[in-house]
Amino acid sequence: MDKTSAVEQRNDERNAVEVRALSKSFDSQKVLDRIDLDVKKGETVAVLGRSGAGKSVLLKLLIGLQRADSGSIRILGHEMTALRTSGLNRVRKRMGFSFQYSALFDSLDVERNVAFPLDHHTKLSTAEKRQKVLELLRTVGMEGSIEKLPAQLSGGMRKRVGIARALALDPEVMLFDEPTAGLDPITAHGIDTLIRRLGQERNIASIVVTHDLRSAGLISDRVMLLNEGRVSFEGPFEELERSSDPFVQQFLALSS
């Protein structure tokens, strides 16, 4: 094992995600203000907060779609804020991102959507890719829709296909942006169960941004509550319910 690999492995064994003093502003509005967050492999952290609290921005900063103003983001041992595009892409191949509105490529069918990362980053044959796509679609319960276009799918089905695409390269870190928003309770429960199962079976470090308290309680090992760019609470969901913080109390009261 070379020196770099040894260092990477040592870092991987610690937290998969380490965020320190992360700040981000848009014009004069501070969206995130010195946020700290650690996520271990196999652990799922739910990020809660009001609309505009910076939850989605946090995910986009983690995967490098936006640049932080200050602070540190270490993903699988790599300092993301210091990486250029090629370095970012090496880490992104080990990450998956499930978008709030799925962000499926509307001109491609389900098979080509899920195969997109495989087409670009693997040398698998067409048959092997199809096999892998089928396996991923089976994981999310969508194997019957392989030839459909995104426009022919319901919101919940699109979310599932988006998750399958995000899982294509067997990520070690998964980021979910509002995975159950706008879904009926039964479909939302199915997605929650899937996220929980993925974290446990694949030892994936997951960060789930959500408005949905019930969902956060079901899937997360820990929750983080954001308010005006700062962390109001971080800990197990049960402790959140017992918190005496006025904002936490108000958030819980109005969410339930």
């Binding site: 970012l88 892409n89 992104r92 978008f99 709030q100 509105y101 509307d106 670009h120 980053h121 695409r165």
Partner: protein, 249 residues
Amino acid sequence: MVGFLRWFGELTFFVLNVFRATITPPFHFGELLRQMYEIGVRSLPLVVLAGAAIGVVLSLHSRDSLVRFGATSLVPVLIVMSVIKETGPIITALIVSGRVGAGIGAELGSMRVTEQIDAIEASAVDPVRLLAVTRVTACILMLPLLTIFANFSAIVMGWIANTVVDYISFTRYIDSGFRVVNFSDLLPSTFRTAAFGAIIGVIGCFQGMRTKGGTEGVGRSATSSVVLSSLFVIIADVLLVRIIQIIWG
């Protein structure tokens, strides 16, 4: 003014980015072929039709003018020179600017607002390489070819329109039309449309990829792509004609 300077700075940075991505791997040949089909083959009927209309109009106007001087024998050469040196290239560029510029602006704009471009980036694929380089390269390669078709269509339809009024055989029309035309008229004029293609591709991709504001933003991107690319094509045409005249005389 500050807004314009910022826009121009971002455009310059984007052009450099596209250039760097064009000359370094990985290359997306499959997507390039698809775009060549979309931009080239699908624009062909419109370009040929526009060329035909120009040929007919040129024939009617030039005959009408030259009759007054008793110089109707110059109609073929006037049509051919006018089509090859200016009308064919600029009409092709403006037609493609309208059809393809708007298409690229709207498509990439829609992909931006629905986070599809973010999804490409999150999948560790460079969206500039996949979306912009392929479209810009396809525009550069296809514009000269489309211009040749437009020129051909204009010259043939010019002959037909001329023949309806005053019969002249096609061979004599071509001989007469191309008598004073040489390579320095044909090649620079045709291949300067590659520069028009670069302008249309770059402006369409740039405006599309920086779209903000939902469906309204997509509409704005499509419109601004057409307006700006047409404007820059006309400006580039003036500059390139002068440069060609200086170099080839």
